[in-house]
Amino acid sequence: MKEEMKEFDAYPEVVESLPDALAAASPHRLPSGLRARVLRAAEARAGRSARRLEMRTVLRAAAVALVLVAIVGLVTWNIQLQQALAQEQTLLQQFRDKAGQQPLIFDIVDSPASTKINLAAAGPQRAGERPPYGKLYANPTFTQVVVMAGRLPDPMPYEEYRLYVTSPSGTVASIGALPVDASGFGYLVVDTGARGPTFAAARVYLQRRSATAPDGVLTLQWESR
């Protein structure tokens, strides 16, 4: 058909008049109701276009809002990530300052094979500071675990921070006290007696030194999901 079209395109004044010629010869007359029907179709289309335009505007606004929310979310997430990284670096730096003479500890903390558990704040915090935080490191080739925490509120002289872990079978046991310095930083290295220890939960309580069970003020905690 393309060839015919080219031929016809070369004679536009003839081609556009051929239907006129046929209409002049034809006995067919336009039905009287057709005009109103065609106009209604156009008007309906105009209405649909307007609605589509309206819908497009709404969708565009929604998309912009979504993008803004995503940007705000990303920025917030990035800030939180930066804070977490800074927090971890501070903690590690404090840890290195304190435990620099114990290479075994760094074998655990720096190893990519180690499992790191983040202990989240659950209780009181130091006045004017952000909430306390902590980490627990375990490694499949070592029997020791390393626990460190920062920004812990100062304990009373008769109190201490004690770490309780829950085994996968559900047994809760204290694995040691976490001595803290004036800034609220402390660390603890515990030999669990088994390589690559795993836990279902870990909690740090601020409790009386004489306590033998997990009570007092829950300060840090983690629970496997």
């Binding site: 058909m1 060839e3 015919e4 031929e7 016809f8 070369a10 004679y11 536009p12 004044e13 003839v14 081609v15 556009e16 008049s17 051929l18 239907p19 006129d20 010629a21 046929l22 209409a23 002049a24 010869a25 034809s26 006995p27 067919h28 007359r29 336009l30 039905p31 057709l34 005009r35 029907r37 065609v38 106009l39 179709a41 156009a42 008007e43 289309r45 105009a46 276009s49």
Partner: protein, 196 residues
């Protein structure tokens, strides 16, 4: 006397801006010729739908019209022809040939029926002139033109149907178009060709 009526090109620009009144004027100017064509090739029962579909296309595509590329009439009739021939191809070749035969008979010897007082849209003299010119064409030239243009047959289909070599079909088509243009030029003056 100068006409105060807006040109088709002005009207289609308004249609592009969703002006229903401009659309209605274009309907008044063009509906009859689209309807007559559709009624002959698909029957009057389907012709109304065809007319509506063609005009809806005009509504949708009005913004695409570019008057630097040609007159509105040529552009719109091309849209109508494309739509009609697309619909026609769903019908058998035999049905299309029957429709073309009927059109050819009309164009060969029908009187100009356009003079009815209600046919305001059909005031264009060019159609009447072309009708007279078509009647004077050799029947074999008129036939290939009708088969190709109105019934949408390809030139190889026409060659097969008429038992004529393809080259002859092409030559007859070209000759028919040339003669019609010469006739239009003589009747209406060379100004008509300027827009093409």
């Amino acid at each position: 006397m100068l006409s105060a009526e807006p040109s088709d090109e002005v009207l289609v620009a308004r249609v592009a801006k969703r002006d229903v009144a401009a659309f209605a004027t274009l309907y008044d100017r063009y509906a009859r010729r689209i309807y007559a064509w559709a009624a002959h090739v698909v029957g009057s029962a389907d012709a109304e739908d065809m007319v509506q579909e063609v005009f809806v296309r005009l509504w949708d595509k009005a913004a695409q019209f570019d008057d630097r590329r040609g007159r509105f009439a040529w552009w719109f009739i091309a849209i109508a022809r494309h739509h009609l021939t697309t619909q026609l191809r769903r019908r058998s070749l035999q049905q299309r040939i029957v429709a073309a035969d009927e059109i050819e008979r009309l164009l060969a010897d029908a009187p100009d029926r356009s003079a009815g007082p209600d046919e305001v849209a059909w005031s264009n003299e060019r159609g009447a002139d072309l009708l007279r010119a078509l009647a004077t064409l050799p029947s074999e030239q008129r036939r290939v033109l009708v088969l190709a243009y109105f019934a949408g047959l390809s030139q190889p289909e026409i060659a097969r149907h008429t038992g004529t070599p393809l080259g002859t079909v092409k030559k007859r088509t070209r000759l028919a178009l040339q003669k019609l243009r010469e006739r239009l030029d003589r009747e209406l003056g060379s100004g008509l060709r300027g827009a093409g």
